[in-house]
Symmetry: C2
Subunit: 535 residues, 2 copies
Amino acid sequence: MSMGTMSLHRVCGVFVFLSLCLIFIPPRCHGGNILVFPLDGSHWVNMKILLEELHARGHNLTVIREDNSWYIPEKSPLYTSITFDSKESFEDMLGAFLQEHMKMQREGASLMTFFRLTMHLLSTFSQVHSLWADATINIFEDQNVMNSLKESKYDLVLTDPTVASGLVLAKYLKLPVVLNVRWITSGDGHFVLAPSPLSYIPVPGSGLTDKMNFIQRVKNMLFHSIILFQQKFVVEPCYETLCNKYIEGGCDIISLLQEADIWLFRSDFVFDFPRPTMPNIVYIGGFQCKPAQPLPADLEDFVQSAGEHGVIIMTLGTLVNALPKEVANEIASVFAKLPQKVIWRHKGERPSMLGNNTLIVDWMPQKDLLGHPQTRVFVAHGGTNGVQEAIYHGVPVLGIPLFFDQYDNLLRLQERGAGKILQLGDVNGKTFEQGIKELLHQDSYRQNIQRMSRLHRDQPMAPMDQAVFWVEYVIRHKGAPHLRTEAYKMPWYSYYCLDVLLLLLTAVTVLLMSTVAVFQFLCCRRQRKTKSKQN
Amino acid sequence: MSMGTMSLHRVCGVFVFLSLCLIFIPPRCHGGNILVFPLDGSHWVNMKILLEELHARGHNLTVIREDNSWYIPEKSPLYTSITFDSKESFEDMLGAFLQEHMKMQREGASLMTFFRLTMHLLSTFSQVHSLWADATINIFEDQNVMNSLKESKYDLVLTDPTVASGLVLAKYLKLPVVLNVRWITSGDGHFVLAPSPLSYIPVPGSGLTDKMNFIQRVKNMLFHSIILFQQKFVVEPCYETLCNKYIEGGCDIISLLQEADIWLFRSDFVFDFPRPTMPNIVYIGGFQCKPAQPLPADLEDFVQSAGEHGVIIMTLGTLVNALPKEVANEIASVFAKLPQKVIWRHKGERPSMLGNNTLIVDWMPQKDLLGHPQTRVFVAHGGTNGVQEAIYHGVPVLGIPLFFDQYDNLLRLQERGAGKILQLGDVNGKTFEQGIKELLHQDSYRQNIQRMSRLHRDQPMAPMDQAVFWVEYVIRHKGAPHLRTEAYKMPWYSYYCLDVLLLLLTAVTVLLMSTVAVFQFLCCRRQRKTKSKQN
């Protein structure tokens, strides 16, 4: 075969192959114009990863941020920004809440603590939502910004619905909506979107699993009631002025959520309990995970110096500046006794009991350490990112949950024998030592999380590619209303078929009563006849 | 740059690229050992397409078939077969049913016809399930076959759960199960698997959409009752002997369905109404669709001779041997008047009124004709395959539904303005002419189905690749129990939280009554005191 023919064959082959591939490879969306309304703080970490990918694929991004933003810089090569005035800083508000919350937790579990924590949480929610609603009013009042938003002809709004500002703005601009979501303050977004039988779907924050006994199901229903209360009397009122003033006919937040085109859910069913879902939910759990990169030389040396014992890494996330001093000291003294090396991301005062085997750092390359073969255990607070990375790299987790969904996240690992929870109120030298030794020496923890890792990686498509695909899908088709059910257009009694049941019940009752009446009539006539015969 | 360096660079580049890709590309499963228990007849057409793909990817297939099989040959390069004795032929049974059913339909819609059709359907279901249950007993009784099944160490059972034989066999052999399913005789499989609020999810066979008024919701609930009745009193009893004799502790069909690992659903949400779904449901609607191939020369000449008017193609599926004579004649005379050319797959007596523009054929390359740019309208019975191919190629459908899900399939096109239904009882020259002209000249039909085509093709992954991925996933992980909810392990009153509601209701009642009692007590005391003072 001459070179010429071979090349021709090759060209033809490649052409046929590409033609076949192209049948199901959708056209790329170059130059999509996306308006992003993120939540500040740790939620931004996730949103930014998605924005980096969208930017890399040629999309034009505009990010709305508050003037005293905590995490979101005004200038970035990724996006142009629109800055609005905000009375208070989200950072200060949340920071104060977290410290107070942690203090209460240290007092130990009791009904009183639970009640105080709940009230504290509800009042913070109210503050946060009011803050963002007021800030959004500032945007609506700024004619220059509004004109620019209208003229920019965005393809969609990408928002984190933990606060509803992005949803209201999208409604006003009549734009399709893609949500980047883990949970919303009115409960898991699923509860808004998909049937969620309370018998096997634990309410977020309840600390329950999908296997509930009777008492736990009662507890789940009570938590559900709290969440309904919170939505109706804490969250919704914050947006009342905003909705009534700027949206024709008003709006409520649940309806706005239900109108979203695509929900990018930062979860999946290796991590989460299986449950009903909807066609417009895309599970992108672990979308931020990447293979580990080599460590900096000094860190690599430290890690290798651990030899066969391996390394423990510990971090309690970006939100916590300092653990209570006594807790930090107890933990340090346990670490000091271990043959392992320890890398501990710790801010604040240096624990006095620190051992030679423990390296205190301000920051650590968490994913690269998790992916390092020397890493044995991850001591973590249970933030979604950390837990997903632990699953991806298959490292068992000793979890000390602090706030929000962290307990629920860790519970999912514990339920699968891939991690163990230590409540902040219970952390002391003894419990911490017990916990860490259990994770180090009981092989099942590693086996279980490595099975989770294999399942997580075995997906038809990488979660990040899924996320980008569906954002571009909404751009290509100007929304995805065909993936939304009719459910949300119905009044609740129709949705639950209560009107139909009432009709059928009435029909059956009438039928039964008529039958009884007829029989009575017939019996009476007979009796009368018998009597008259006897007479 | 020398050739050597360039090659090295290339090799490195390719290596890095492949390494990156491999993170989320799962290992292939060569040599999976799959036991297939298909349903005979038109369902086999779909199953075979999936088997061809699995065979091409190196899997080893064993197909169980009846000795007088209708569609499934004993010898095939795709699979080795296990043949069992069957008293009656499925073909004869179903053939007789279809002719009788069509005759009844021609009598026009009335409550009496509906009642007779339903009774006819129920009695046929009973016959079919009994036939397959008895045949399965023959398999269990054949020691040679059973030994061979046990020794073959299959990785999974792939079955069509329209009849439950495959499920029972999988339960006995303790094997993971993958279902290839469109609907099951006890209603849409979704009703077994996922929450299906009757307020917006039409029961299969009800002829309803997802937008129902009050009366339609009443109708939907009545249809649901029929289906429950059918499952409990028609389907389940057929398998009682089989379950009790061969499965330890007995079995019921719904539970066996709920234990399946993966449901490959031959549907998607471009075609079907959006609804709640489950993590272990994979929508593979249109998985059989492929780009059109060139037509045979004579057919291409005929198609081209139509010029600007284009071509109409008509087929009523493989199950119908002959349309009633008078209907065929009326249709032929309408075709004769049209400027289009017509290709009509028609068996039985040649219509006397046939025009020169109409080509009668025994068989036609349906997908290639649907994908031909000359094709204007598809006259079809509404079988799932044909409808999916019409969507894929974007050709509007004039539907004459005959049995089973055909009306429901066509209704989904009609609802989206992509097709029109003509009931068999209403087909005459006038209605057929009206219908065909509407589809030819009203542009919206073509626009709507072409929009559906664009949406259908815009998927992250081709449906066939999805199907194969999930079959191989079950092989790799020996099942997928982590995708199944806890729902099916609960008694119904716990699933619906009725026990919890009863407790809370009792608690509220007791609380109210105690309060009333306390008040009464206090009031009485006060009255007594006042009285005693007065005295």
